[in-house]
Symmetry: C2
Subunit: 295 residues, 2 copies
């Protein structure tokens, strides 16, 4: 069974349909005092796949705790989390003395609740494998690059641009599938919002640019790159991101910077979703089931 | 050391002063995407007392997880939570099939993080001891009744009124210390906001009434009682509660119902706080230290 929550019932249902599994939603109510009440559907399944992206995560993490303990109490033996967007992956070291390395704490917490965790394009910096952050039985990190590459296959002559060197491998994978050129900028970040960008040494004047990134959070990075690209003569800048997080006024920030089109995967449900992750997630679920069955 | 958070730094500091312990605050920042960053103060203490009330709890629970794991990682051996207001104590059974009994799940979660938990007037219905909800080494439930009784000692001729039969013992303790008469109403609750009240069989016409309760959440219970009391001829209705939770427009609801004065303990920092819990909490901390030392 795929068990979802109301905010992404559509996505969870699509995944269940791909897999031929039953789908149900947790009945979630938030009381006026900020507490959550959860009613779980009855199931005879001993293996449950819980679907939930962890944007704006704190409420959701507490609700995952309640859900996981509730399901275990009801006899579920194997519990797998499908979280297309994972939270707390960016605080992967102590930037100040005494700073809590939340990636490690939240990763261990998820591994205590779930046997398996599947995610898409998690924002990993100083570690290479999701399993280093989440010590679950299986911690599977998928990439939206191939789906993005196919989605962009008709965008002839556009230049794909990644925001930083770390994105180079991912951007090149999108480029390979789509047949587009690509380049990556360099990014210097200080604090929540201050970002300095250095454009790559390729001509952008007269070109259509497609910015690709794993997540648009405050939007300040993509906005800054867009302004520089337009100042350098680019004729159009659009953006495609895996996770449409868009904290606060991020969409407005992007539009004011001159981003003409904005698209994303449906990892976080949003009006800008253009790429469905269900086929990618379904393949990962099938593979995990096969591994489980055949060793 | 008493370690607190900004929203209740004043209360944590007052407690530290009573005990002659050092006080520090966790440096907490919430990012625009809803994630929390915590920086813990350096300490050589092997036993840390963490002070935080758990109103609007989900963010705070995740931050307690981060804090507790961070402190353990830094070598803290004994970690005691002082949570004057405890969350999730009301969902103590499954009211519907499949409903998660969050009291049990959150209680177990707190017991995993902390060796000890101290709270004040937790809202326990179907269990008598806090330790049944929170299986920590020590789970101590304190009562604000004595402090409330002393606070009300000058309110001559007023009638103390508890909202339901369950409050009888607590209200009678306040009455004993204050020297006031008391009675209790009967309460029938259905859903979040629907409450039916039956006033006690005592004359209220011409009397000043002081409603006492453990928590004012939506305010609907106290508002309903107030309307009935005023309709029955009471000349003034005021309210004193342990926990000034006041979800949403609760204060407005109370004022519109005709509650003239509203007071509370400082378990949840609020403009209506009139009773300091520091002396009560300090006594509990001293006793726990003594038990620990002398067996």
């Amino acid at each position: 069974m795929i068990l979802g929550f109301a905010e992404s019932a559509h996505q969870a249902q699509a995944l269940a349909a791909e897999l031929g599994l039953a789908h149900a939603s947790v009945d979630l109510h938030r009381f006026p005092d900020g507490e959550s009440r959860l009613i779980l559907p009855q199931t005879a399944d001993r293996h449950v796949w819980l679907y939930r992206s962890l944007d704006y995560p704190n409420d959701k993490l507490v609700e995952l705790l309640l859900t996981a303990r509730g399901l275990r109490g009801a006899g579920v033996e194997r519990l797998s989390l499908i979280a297309p967007y994972l939270c707390y992956m960016r605080q992967d070291m102590a930037f100040h003395a005494g700073e809590v390395v939340s990636q490690r704490v939240i990763g261990a917490f998820l591994a205590e609740l779930f046997d398996d965790v599947i995610s898409v394009d998690p924002h990993l910096h100083r570690i290479s494998e999701l399993a280093q952050a989440i010590p679950a039985r299986h911690a599977v990190s998928l990439s939206a690059a191939e789906l993005f590459g196919r989605y962009l296959a008709n965008e002839k002559d556009a230049l794909l641009l990644g925001p930083d060197e770390e994105s180079a491998q991912w951007v090149s994978a999108i480029a390979r599938v789509s047949g587009l050129d690509y380049a990556v900028a360099s990014k210097l970040r200080s604090g929540d919002k201050a970002v300095t960008i250095q454009l790559p040494a390729v001509a952008v004047a007269g070109r259509r640019i497609i910015l690709v990134d794993d997540v648009a959070s405050t939007g300040h990075t993509l906005a800054a790159i867009t302004r520089q690209l337009l100042a350098a003569g680019a004729i159009e800048v659009s953006a495609l991101v895996t996770h449409a997080l868009f904290a606060g006024d991020a969409l407005e920030v992007l539009r004011q910077a001159g981003v003409s089109r904005i698209g994303s995967s449906d990892s976080i449900p949003h009006a800008v979703n253009v790429v469905r992750l269900a086929p990618l997630l379904a393949r990962a679920v099938r593979e995990m089931k096969l591994v489980e069955k055949c060793g």
